[in-house]
Symmetry: C2
Subunit: 196 residues, 2 copies
């Protein structure tokens, strides 16, 4: 469902092809809501059938340009305002779920696992920061600004995750000697500084 409306939103902003949309997901949106090319093409088909978007051009290499119709834009607005309480917003974060079961592993295995996860999310955060810096400064329609905001939230979420993993790791290390050390890592002890 969300992918459907995400596509509609992007097409309300500017006409694009399935390929362009796929790239948009890869470079910014995907950080908070991933989608692959095949799902995108399938949803485009449905949106087209429902009259929420229209194909406005057929270019070289089979390229098909789509844009949101009036009905489509109206439907998107309706969705934004009326559909679902905030309580029902989809949220999924697998890394902490996995980390939750590390007590099953040997200390060194658990540490290696956490180190790997942490490095990845830290790198991902930096990648997003980079992406944001390479965005154009011109912003005719506000779409660049939107991407910047996605980058901003991605930055803080990935940063937090990485920090949490660091804290988890330290806690496991400190725990090593004694059997009980509950409550020692209830909070994130090295918060990342939001960039100044």
């Amino acid at each position: 469902m969300s992918v459907r409306y995400a596509l509609l939103g992007l097409l309300a902003e500017a006409p694009m092809s399935g390929y362009d949309l796929t790239k948009r997901f890869e470079h910014s949106l995907g950080a908070i809501w991933p989608a692959r090319h095949n799902q995108i093409y399938m949803e485009l088909k449905k949106l087209l059938e429902a009259g929420l978007i229209a194909q406005i051009e057929y270019g070289a290499r089979n390229r098909k340009l789509y844009a949101a119709t009036g009905t489509g834009t109206a439907e998107l607005k309706r969705w934004l305002m009326a559909e679902l309480e905030p309580a029902d917003r989809a949220l999924r974060f697998e890394p902490p779920l996995r980390a939750n079961f590390l007590w099953l592993l040997e200390a060194d295995e658990a540490d290696a696992f956490l180190a790997r996860e942490e490095a990845f999310f830290r790198a991902r955060r930096d990648w997003l920061a980079e992406q944001a810096q390479t965005l154009p400064t011109e912003d005719a329609d506000g779409s660049v600004e939107a991407r910047r905001r996605i980058a901003a939230v991605g930055l803080s979420l990935f940063g937090d995750l990485a920090d949490w993993l660091t804290a988890y790791r330290r806690a496991l290390r400190d725990e090593g000697g004694n059997g009980d050390s509950a409550a020692s890592v209830a909070t994130n002890s090295t918060p990342h500084q939001p960039d100044a």
Copy 2:
């Protein structure tokens, strides 16, 4: 998939019923990976058939107590260490996805939307903090500690989301008068302080 392993992990910790597992999701795990009772019962059936868990008791009111088998625990370990690169960890965050299309709405509508979302996530964060405080101080098997860690990461992720929404809201307000204000909200200007 993740739900399957989450259940296996909880049952490796201590024997529980489907009902107990459902409660665990409602009170802590659900913050990062939601699951409803029917999905839980379905996955339990599959785990049972696969020999990864076993029913160890049949109590009053049809209560069925399950525990992870040796094979189950081994499989969980394998999953933790071998399955999937960190890059493939499932991550989904719907709120920023919605916020991304606010430019379609009137200024007051957009503000109302953001205010509603922000209030919800702030409340959710506080609720998690409360939950964490009511956890027992005794922790025989480490499961309380695990719940505390989930609360910790939930706290920072929900806090960040709420802060991001605040920043978004302020940016839209500041923008009101002039047409362009790109780059003004690239970063989160009011980071929540991780509790001391």
